[in-house]
Amino acid sequence: MLRSYLAAALRHLAHNRLYACINLIGLAIGFAAAILITAFVWHERSFEHFIPGYENVYRLSGEVHAGRAGEGLSHSTDSVKGPIVDQLRLDFPEIRQVASLRNDFYLINSLRRGNVEAIEPGFWWADPNIFEVLPLKAAAGDLHTALERPDGLVLTRRMARKYFGTDLPLGQTIEFDHERTLRVTAVLEDLPSNTHLNAEIFASARAIPPQPDGLVFRCYVYLRLAPGASPASLRAALPAFVDRHPFGQPGKASDTLGYSLIPIGDIHLHATGRFAMKPGGDPRLLGALSIVGLLVLLTAAINYINLMTARSSRRAVEVGVRKAAGGTRGDLTLQFIGESVVYCLIAMLFAIALAELLLPQLNSFLDRSIAFDYWHVPWLIGLLGLVLIVGILAGIYPALVLSAFRPATVLKGIGPQAAGSGQLRQLLVVLQFAILIGLMLATGVIKLQTAFGLREGLRFDKDQLLSILVLPDGCVGSAFTERVGALPGVRGTACSMEFLTNYGTQQYRSADGREVALHNTYVGPGLFELLGLSPVAGRFFSQDRASDIIDPIQDRVTTKIYHTVINQTAARQLGFADPAVAIGQIFTSVTDAKPGTRREIIGVVPDFAHDSVRVPIDPVLYDDTSPYFSQLNVKLWGARIPETLQSIDDLWQQMAPLPAPITRQFYDQYTEALYRDLERQSTLFSTFAAIALLLAALGLFGLAAFTVERRTREIGIRKALGAATGDILRLLLWQFTRPVLWANLITLPPAAWLMTRWLQAFSYHIELPLWLFVATGAVTLIIALLTVSAHSILVARARPVAALRHE
């Protein structure tokens, strides 16, 4: 019996190539999209799973709050301050191992071997027992002891090849910061992409020079709990730990510091702190992609259902014969469902090939290294399960329709032209186009919001603006700064801290006694002007006024009044509705290293963003303290950028302001990095919209071909009775335009609501433009008309006699 069914299915496929192709291509594309999305989601949800015992490993995050409870500014940070590791070990016996990775501001972290030199973002100082907490896989050497010696260095194969030209350079040496030598004591297998760790080079923390105040910055603390230990009770004990050891917050009452404990498997998708090693994932995007993948698969399944039921009359005789021979409706239903499963199986094979073909591009686009292991049992079960589920669900309706044919009717040759409900087919086309319209609208809104962020998000003029990292206190008055400023392609320079990404949070008391929390960072004279900004009130820092300069923290005194510039949001926080009123006002610090120091507001700068348009602009206070300046900002003339960049690089080579290669970046690149996730979302949605478009068009093409063929005789009669080609064309095109119009009507309002809610997650966003809705509707209509017009025009122009003879 199965052989008879299979033979009928495969031969029917071979004899109806056009429709078979439409079905197979549609299902293959749908399956391929599902495979790739599933692989990506699986990958995102499997971060750190490659680490043995990862379920028992946690990382500490810092919770910084400046201000009273319920007020002020808060943020969490992936790194914590303070010599915390030893205290954790002593205070919590349930912690079996605790170790940290550090990357201090005070060191350059450049590596040099022969002609290869770089500042590696993945360079970390590691406690010697780091591999007890994070047991990464060794390629050579003993990870238990590799970092015991102060000059010990562990690196991945990739880094080994980069610097040493070989995978396993055990015992070889490399130069650090042009000062000291480190020795390779072990090599790691390259880390997979599903890890939050960007670490590829681990140097022994025993070699870190101690800091004068004992503080450690940018420290990532990992701990492995003893089996059976409760993370909940550890979390409950952390506030008391903070009270016992207030690191980094020298006893200021209104400042709070807390720790949170996060399982490392949750870091990628759920950690939201600053100073993340790598950009985190977005669980909402995973959810959205999963839904979109299902919708694409649904679109492909709809094509199958529509084409099978529309062409069911082709199988009417077979159904009648099988029923006359004793086949029950159940037998026939099973037969046609089985046929659907066979279609899906064939389509799945094509889909796997397609997914393999596209995987490298996907990995490159997402910056991941996803791989398929088809013989991995869960994958295999998943693929076969998908074939069965889609095959059965898509096949049920056509099977029920086909198996319902009455043999007495169909065997007499007077069977139905097309069985099943024509209305249902129209409804399914409406659904397909609704999916398409939703995706197109989402794509349009994401693109517009991304463009808005890139263009206007920062709110300052970032064109031709370059930042160059220099040594702290190595910017103002340095020879390098002077020489760069003198280059003909340079419009201007100004020094600062990395003010967009590097700022603290402190508590201040305003003149009327209120306490407010403000971010604080450091910029030099001319910086705001370089950004194209003018004061809203007062003035900016001036090179000619020594009183604008604020001493480093340790040198500040409460007897001086220090000049400061604040932004508009800070002015409002301090109680000045009108920025002009803020000028000359004095307020004092409460929680910085020298509480009680006084600030006088000399100017108010327009709000500009430090982050993407997702977050509101915070209140910021700017100080001119040159020892903290580690960034030279350079505004270039537009006409000579490549030559000027080369000149800057040459100057760097000659003058070596840092014992490391130059690190420079255009501000455009910074904003692009801020919006990379949005741009990725935009590209993903564009791709899926294009796929949905292709599938909807394919389905419509097949339906149109069949419908036109079925109506050929009718068309011949109409033409014989006087209908013109245009009349016939209008008749046929209207049949397929109607569902598209309905799809627009029912989809656009809920899509608009959904996208409005999506936009509201941004602090600053576009308003939904009406033209986008009109354009979306117009595009779908044009696509539908173009798709069906080919067949329609051919038959509309045919001679009536040819149509009337059509059987």
Partner: protein, 226 residues
Amino acid sequence: MLKLEHVSKIYRTTEVETRALDGVSLEVAAGEFLAIMGPSGCGKSTLLNILGLLDSPSSGVYSFFGEDVARASEQHLTVLRRGAVGFVFQSFNLIDDLNVAENVDVALIYRGVSASERKRRIAEALERVGIAHRSRHLPQQLSGGQQQRVAIARALVANPKLILADEPTGNLDTANGEAVMELLAEVSRSGTTVIMVTHSLAHAARAQRTIKLLDGHVVSETLLAA
């Protein structure tokens, strides 16, 4: 063997009621060769469909080999049909996607016959109708006469008690029509009951008895002279 008592068949739509059969009573003996004649629309095909359990009467009694099936469910009719009835149609009704052997196989696959037994019976049936040499051809590759032979082989392969032929020579030329009639006569001689609808007096004369229908009634009955 087959007994119809006052059988009527009414087709109803929302506006129209058509009485295809009106109080037909008929008996068919086992092994009989019966021809049914009448103008278009007289109810011949409806009668054949009811006799072949493809349809149920609106009223009356139909005794099929001793069992009253007039009110039987579709499921039960299918089971009865499976074991006892073979069909031959005017338009052959072969499945285009299956070859000759596979088309004949369709009559066996729902009867729980083993694969080896099916293969044997198919070969036998094809041999009987003289088409075994084309067993792997598709229907489109055969002439009309050859296709009808395949259809007869399909009707015979399950050894049914009853064969119903609805204008089996309607789409064939004279020579092929004669060949098909000879096959049906031979089937009847072997003991199978054959009921045939035909427009051809010459072909009806091959049957033992001919009944004529008009407007859903049996209007005459003719026995073949012995």
